[in-house]
């Protein structure tokens, strides 16, 4: 079967792409996942193609005609596609410092949540969205080198199986023949969460470095400047931007933004702690809390 259905072009920070598949429903499903991203210009530079299935129900993934995955299960093919788009964002965004971080808007307070893959960023971001937060992203945020702006990457939220019991209402609803594509992770389009607004660019107001430890008591501690810079640097992606440029930009973030380390033992405790910090920041800055932190 040849690929004939193509998503609209999407712009993921510096990475512009479209995805083609041989199945209209699959294309619609993927297009919906990317619907939080701004539209890209027609004929984007990167073209992903999912093709299949073969006789063994295996799928193939290519980018710009070059194979990425030769034989994968449907779920593996979709997971690989999303992972490669994340890599494409990192490869193609050369004018922003990219931070491995989630980011949300809590009543006008823009919160950056940096952390490695295992700290539970996506789970915490999803919990915050369910509590009313706006969404910048759950994986990568970009920091402008010249301004205070933080750029969101509103990809679908990726939830591992361990988080599914917390968010049973977010289980992807797909037509029967697409069920095999939903397996390894739940990919949740942010607007699927009631009331969630997708954000694209704003000044960050608060940095919270989260660390989930099952059943641990909640601990919130301010982080000293050099320590915060070191922790943020550990979360920064290596791109064409020099290490010194990255550090100088992150130092500016530390100087302009209160930084806290949060240890939490349950999702509810983590959500409560981040919301309390955001309220405290809003109280200390009269420009916040009403969306006054927008940048052009």
């Amino acid at each position: 079967m040849s690929a004939v259905f193509t998503t609209r072009a999407a712009q993921a920070l510096g990475h512009a792409f479209e995805v083609a598949t041989p199945d209209r429903d699959l294309t619609d499903y993927l297009g919906d996942l990317f619907s939080g991203l701004p539209p890209g210009s027609p004929d984007p530079p990167h073209h992903y193609e999912l093709s299949g299935p073969d006789a063994a129900d295996r799928w193939r993934l290519s980018r710009d005609g070059l194979p990425i995955l030769e034989e994968g299960t449907p779920a593996h093919a979709v997971a690989t596609l999303l992972w490669r788009i994340n890599l494409g964002v990192i490869e193609d965004t050369d004018d922003l410092v990219l931070l491995h971080a989630g980011a949300v808007d809590l009543a006008g307070v823009r919160v950056v949540l940096p952390g490695d893959t295992e700290v539970g960023k996506s789970t915490l971001v999803t919990g915050l969205m369910q509590a009313g937060a706006g969404y910048f992203g759950d994986e990568v945020v970009g920091l402008d080198l010249d301004t205070n702006a933080m750029h969101g990457y509103a990809k679908p939220v990726s939830l591992d199986a361990g988080s599914w019991p917390l968010f049973s209402d977010l289980e992807p609803q797909v037509v029967d023949h697409l069920r095999p594509f939903v397996g390894v992770q739940w990919h949740v389009q942010p607007r699927a969460i009631p009331g969630v607004e997708v954000m694209s660019r704003a000044r960050p107001d608060l940095v919270v470095l989260p660390s989930f430890r099952a059943h641990a008591p909640t601990q919130v501690e301010p982080v000293r400047a050099a320590t915060a810079l070191g922790m943020l640097a550990a979360c920064a992606f290596k791109t064409s931007i020099t290490r010194e440029q990255r550090l100088v930009r992150l130092a500016r973030l530390v100087e302009q933004t209160p930084c806290f380390q949060l240890t939490y033992g349950t999702l509810a405790a983590g959500v409560d702690a981040v919301r309390a910090l955001a309220r405290a920041v809003a109280r200390s800055d009269p420009d916040l809390g009403g969306g006054g932190g927008d940048v052009g």
Partner: protein, 112 residues
Amino acid sequence: MSADDPHEGLSTHMALRSRADTTLVRVEDEAVVYQQDDGPLHGINPTGLLVWERLDGDRTLAAVIDELARRFDFPRQSVTDDVMTFATQLLDHGLLEVVARVERAADESAGG
């Protein structure tokens, strides 16, 4: 390094400076410093930054100690311990290099 002298090999009569391949990035009154593009990042607290700024390869550690003790009215021995510990750590990390070792008499007369 002996248990008696934690700063073995380092003397207040030495002048130190940062190595040419180190980069320091300031953040508030602290800093991080690293060597080459892939070296580990080391945090420097405000006191350490005061010391770092004075390790210019001209001033001896004794002169740095004297200046900081006078400026902040701290006991000289306490400042000496802090400076020597800091310098030893940074030398161990390869972030500093010894530029010169001056004669004791000259250093004492210069350092007051």
